[in-house]
Symmetry: C2
Subunit: 390 residues, 2 copies
């Protein structure tokens, strides 16, 4: 496949949080317009739109959300193709991948990729049930498993197999809240210490409230175009040099090893191969820390640390600003927030901001290569992208 | 864009109807395996899967359905990318378009495109509410509009503007039931006459029960590969020569003219241009007759007949087997059934079957070129594909 090189030329993101005075469409349009403005393009140049969203059908009773966002952005006038893609928590990353392929293949020149979710219009219980629709309804959810309890199984096994400690899990949250305190768009901007995590209420043992990402409203968007045209629009275009997607069994119990997300390994292999880069090249990464244990699996399965060493690496600060690789500088899902369909796109926004050198107080020095890892369910879909300052 | 030519080498479809002993996953896998068997390929050759589905989140409380189908088809073993796309009623056509682009661009060689919906696990009232989530919730549904009542507005205006008669609407249903009687997979296989339609209960005046497609369970799938490899697998490969997608305002009241679906016109222009073919070349077409009025708009907006002449053309038999273009030989959504996410793929299955000359009693003589038109909502998304016997 001979592909065109693709760059991100604009980013937009709303505040993340419990945004009771913002509707889904207001959030989606807000992020999209901010990205278009940042790219300094005229809206009539936009050829197509891809939207990542997990469950607007259940959260706000609205399907068909790509057409909705295109319409309320004024783009239906030109009848642009508008496509929603969904893979639970990986919906945003998947939308980015579809947009990337649309430009890489030459089908479209300028594409807006958005992600949005409006989660707080339903009760916490209903929200939890909707999040569980990422898992196997017939073999997991109907038998009583929740999204948190499945991750608790992973955590328990990881602690058993590798000696990962309860404190190391807490350290993921402590680090990400610390990072979030530097991000003005983050849902939680207050530092916490280990004790806050360790004394917080149990959600599904061993996971406690501060091990879990929150329910959030929010949206994010990026504008893509061919790299060779990117300098017309952006001072510092950021190239998407690799894209990998992989699936795995929907139910956790069908995996050979629940301490490894096979789809992360394979998606990362595919992305690194396309990018012709290796783990050691990555300066900054946004990974899918919907639970603290998820970040530990991620930094192992992405190949930053050997299997079983993710907890120790976190404890030693090797995933912090001064570490081997700065992980979740935005605050991650834990502190920046996790409006599900928006998350994968928000990860890209953070990485592009870092590679542009515009991350202010949370800037990783000389960041040149970044990576995003976006997970659906307990790992049945994983999308990995690699970015490089162009 | 230099694209590879793409062929359909296998098709599969389940029975459509109220299939209370079949689950969503059973239907999806059934159609997929039938398509793979028809293509005579080994499953380990499959590179990726795209799944069209509108609202499994609400119909069966399951999101993340592409990973689900990949998993239960045994394809998660190879971690293939599995992507769900959604645009209400156009979800299946959109999945076909994504699969087509994946092969055309060179990204993947062998791709399975599936569509599925399981609608009968909820009450009729709930099903109606879910279908209305294709429309603008804030400006249509919450104010009392239903999916049927919006189409009733279109029908009323079309009758007023162009003199389309109540009998001409009925003739669409009479024709499609007649076609469905020849399709062993159709949900309704009994011929009806005008009086059956005209005396059926009113749903939303002027539309009556027999003007409306049913709620259905079902799934359909096709296997795609590059045309130059297709003869290895298929006796009669069918090429996808054109693909067009377009959006429009989500709410009907924002359109300049509710008697024209602008997205159909634009999607058709794009598809015909790519195919380098014109309306007169089309022998057989599957169009989105979710309501009888929709087929009348479709045959006009696709350019088969001038605006306002669709009803008259139907009455005169010009959309029947012996007419200018054979429309909905499968029975259409009206008689074959309309499991929403499956519909766009089922349309492709019918066209490929016709172009292969394998449509038995409903075969269109010497069918060489076929077209599908798949609509989301009241026309906020339309996808058009053009097929040719290779």
């Amino acid at each position: 496949m001979s592909m065109r090189r693709v760059a991100v030329i604009g980013t937009g993101i709303t505040e993340f949080g419990e945004l009771w005075d913002s509707s889904f469409r207001k959030l989606g349009i807000g992020a999209g317009l901010a990205a278009v403005e940042d790219a300094r393009i005229s809206a009539d140049l936009i050829d197509a739109m891809y939207v990542g969203n997990m469950s607007a059908g259940r959260f706000i009773r609205q399907e068909h959300v790509a057409a909705l966002i295109a319409d309320y952005s004024g783009l239906a006038r030109d009848h642009i193709p508008a496509t929603r893609v969904e893979a639970a928590g990986a919906s945003g990353g998947l939308a980015l991948r579809q947009g990337f392929l649309a430009v890489a293949s030459g089908l479209h020149d300028i594409v807006v990729v958005g992600g949005a979710e409006k989660m707080t219009d339903v009760s916490d219980m209903e929200s939890s049930m909707i999040q569980s629709s990422a898992d196997d309804q017939e073999w997991e959810t109907e038998l009583g498993a929740t999204f948190a309890s499945l991750h608790a199984l992973i955590a328990t096994r990881h602690m058993h197999n590798y000696g990962t400690t309860r404190e190391q899990l807490a350290d993921v949250a402590v680090k990400n809240h610390s990072h979030g305190s530097l991000n003005p768009k983050a849902q939680f901007r207050r530092k916490i210490d280990r004790n806050v995590v360790l004394k917080s209420p149990i959600v599904a043992s061993p996971l406690r409230m501060f091990d879990c990402a929150p329910s959030s409203d929010g949206a994010a968007a990026v504008v893509l175009c061919p790299l060779d045209a990117a300098r017309k629009y952006a001072e510092t275009p950021v190239e998407i040099t690799g894209s990998g997607q992989a699936s795995d069994t929907l139910a956790l119990h069908n995996r050979k090893d629940i301490c490894t997300m096979g789809a992360t390994k394979v998606a990362a292999e595919r992305a690194f191969k396309m990018a012709e880069l290796a783990q050691k090249d990555v300066d900054v990464a946004e990974v899918h820390d919907n639970f603290t244990i998820s970040e530990i699996l991620a930094v192992e399965d992405l190949g930053f640390f050997p299997k079983g060493q993710g907890g120790k690496a976190t404890e030693e600060g090797r995933t912090s600003f001064e570490g081997d690789v700065a992980v979740n500088t935005s605050g991650g899902l834990k502190a920046r927030g996790d409006p599900i369909g928006a998350t994968g796109v928000a990860q890209a926004v953070e990485i592009v901001t870092q590679l542009r050198g515009k991350a202010d107080k949370r800037q990783v020095k000389d960041a040149d290569v970044g990576l995003t890892q976006n997970v659906g369910g307990t790992g049945a879909t994983v999308v990995v992208h690699i970015f490089r300052r162009a």
